[in-house]
């Protein structure tokens, strides 16, 4: 038995080693960092223990801007992408012809490099010296005037960020919802049809309750994903997100850690923990709501 134990641990050793060094230890360390005041990264010393790092970031206008941007992004993109994905998935499950083709096409953005395709969105929205960009030309065609979506007013930049984020997150949501819809037992619909139930009623009384667990799963993962938004913003506005007023919480963490204004792991840690607390709270709220409303 002793020998058997030893062998099992040997099989686990590499995984435990890597997880220990790159997950468990950092997890403890990040909390310690966040309470060490006046940490100096070159001498590895700190002046005291306390909550100064938290109070610093909560007063930092860049952090507040990042907080605001992230919340706006979450509140706009999560409902829109989930609703749109539901609509598309329901449409997709109601057809047979070229359904597989559409399913494959819809999934394409999932496998593309966020940074690379973000550049395409940038040129579509950005006016240059030579052309106003395709989107602006369409706006002009309908009688509007050109807007600089990449270096222009705040709302325009936020709009592009939201559009791009929705485009990026749709594949996952459509995939999950179409497989959820496919798993609903046909017998329910047949029974309802015999009773002469209307399509709308069938949707609200059978389909929605049956897929509600998956819908809530998507809302939760959507919230978590959107709160961690970062590379979409970099793809559209470049790495100087603070200057573009387009930073996100995760972006703030990385900017504090490294780069132009970097070298402050304590502030970065505090910001990361604030992010973790927000995500945890929202997840718990979602779970509480879902317990009340998911019919299962």
């Amino acid at each position: 038995m002793e020998k058997k134990n030893l062998k099992a641990w040997l099989y686990l050793l590499p995984a435990i080693l890597f997880l220990g060094i790159f997950m468990v230890y950092p997890l403890i360390d990040v909390f310690i960092y966040s309470f060490e005041e006046g940490f100096n990264s070159s001498s590895q010393t700190y002046s005291g223990i306390g909550i100064y790092n938290y109070s610093y970031i909560l007063r930092d206008p860049y952090f507040l801007q990042a907080l605001k941007n992230t919340f706006i992004l979450v509140m706009i993109t999560v409902p829109i992408s989930t609703g749109l994905a539901l609509l598309i998935s329901v449409g997709l499950s109601s057809i047979k012809w070229i359904r597989n083709l559409y399913q494959t096409i819809y999934f394409l953005p999932y496998v593309t490099n966020t940074l690379a395709v973000g550049l395409v969105f940038m040129i579509l929205f950005k006016p240059t010296a030579y052309s106003d960009g395709l989107v602006n030309l369409i706006i002009n065609f309908f009688g509007g005037s050109s807007v600089d979506f990449i270096d222009g007013p705040y709302w325009a930049k936020m709009l592009v960020l939201c559009i791009y984020t929705v485009w990026v997150v749709m594949p996952f949501k459509i995939l999950i919802l179409t497989s959820a819809l496919a798993s609903v037992n046909r017998d329910y619909y047949n029974a309802a049809r015999v009773d002469g139930t209307s399509k709308f009623r069938m949707f609200t009384k059978i389909t929605l309750p049956m897929i509600s667990p998956m819908l809530f799963y998507l809302v939760i993962t959507g919230f978590i994903g959107a709160f961690k938004a970062y590379s979409d913003a970099v793809a559209l506005f470049g790495t100087e997100l603070n200057a573009a007023e387009m930073n996100t919480i995760v972006g703030y963490v990385y900017d504090m850690l490294y780069g132009e204004g970097g070298g402050f792991p304590s502030y970065a840690s505090a910001a990361a923990i604030v992010l973790f607390a927000i995500v945890l709270t929202i997840t718990c709220i979602n779970l509480l709501i879902s317990r009340k409303h998911v019919h299962y």
């Binding site: 590499p14 953005p109 999932y110 395709v117 106003d132 749709m170 923990i273």
Partner: protein, 284 residues
């Protein structure tokens, strides 16, 4: 009677509307891809001469692709990313397969506790641990090395979990029969379990390859020497101080080059990838 007619007719019109809406979405999804491909084959001068961009081009050119490979080290980024992706995925498989085997097949003291702890780690967001990992790698003097790039991303609790579930489905009888024949655990794992679970292993491999190919944050933190840039950092570098004079067609050629490998992979394995992601991908 008129009610019946309505019911017969309505689906026809409804179907058409559904098809139109679905086609619009397909168009929205595909348009950026079409646009990057189109722009990448327009010449620099003709692109800038079009105030209203044309939706097709009659004189496609490959000059932007030559430009993309010669005036920025795109080939270098590409090779770096391949090395990073292959090495990370290979080491990950070596790490997670024995771990999944131990959880699924072997009995040892503390198994349940360790497995629960592993599952708990799944909830830890990467953002929380990246700060210390950055310090660790910097202190080990591993910045701008492949070791530093690869090491923190070679374990995935989620993939261990996926594999363990799959391993556990293999009937015990096979194991006992192999034991009677005197087969060692390792041999049993390699000769019996791995071939049976090949589909899951392929899925895990593909998901990891996609993740590696698109990784941006960690490589950005850990490399500032262009010789170690991956494609994501490379494209960001190109965007910020690349071809100069806003050479958008060349930029789009680089974007095409970076996107093509995964799109090809996806077209070959689309069923597998979608099934794999449905089982446990995250993003968005």
């Amino acid at each position: 009677m008129s009610d019946l007619n309505k019911n017969l007719k309505a689906p026809g019109i409804g179907k058409i509307i559904v098809y139109i809406l679905l086609t619009i979405w397909a168009f929205i999804v595909l348009f950026p891809f079409y646009w990057m491909l189109l722009t990448s084959v327009k010449s620099y001068s003709s692109y800038n001469a079009e105030y209203f961009p044309r939706f097709f081009t009659l004189s496609p050119t490959l000059e932007n692709y030559t430009e993309a490979f010669t005036s920025v080290p795109l080939g270098q980024y590409f090779i770096n990313t391949i090395i990073f992706t292959v090495a990370t995925t290979a080491i990950m498989l070596i790490v997670i397969i024995p771990a999944a085997f131990a959880f699924a097949r072997l009995n040892f003291r503390g198994k349940n506790i360790v497995f629960t702890l592993f599952l708990a780690l799944m909830m830890i967001p990467n953002e929380l641990v990246v700060i210390t990992n950055f310090t660790t790698i910097t202190n080990l003097d591993l910045r701008n090395t492949f070791t530093g790039l690869i090491l923190p991303s070679v374990t995935s609790v989620f993939y261990i979990y996926l594999l363990k579930e799959n391993f556990a489905q293999i009937p015990d009888e096979l194991y006992f029969a192999a034991k009677v024949d005197g087969t060692s655990d390792l041999k049993y794992l390699l000769r019996v379990m791995l071939p049976i679970c090949k589909p899951t292993i392929i899925t895990v491999t593909i998901l990891k390859v996609i993740e590696c190919w698109n990784s941006y944050v960690w490589p950005r933190l850990i490399t500032d020497n262009e010789a170690y840039f991956l494609v994501s950092n490379g494209i960001q570098e190109i965007r910020e101080n690349g071809f100069g004079r806003d050479n958008i067609p060349a930029m789009m050629a680089a974007v095409v080059v970076i996107s093509v490998p995964l799109i090809v992979l996806f077209l070959i394995f689309s069923k597998k990838i979608m099934a794999g992601v449905a089982r446990g991908g995250t993003k968005g």
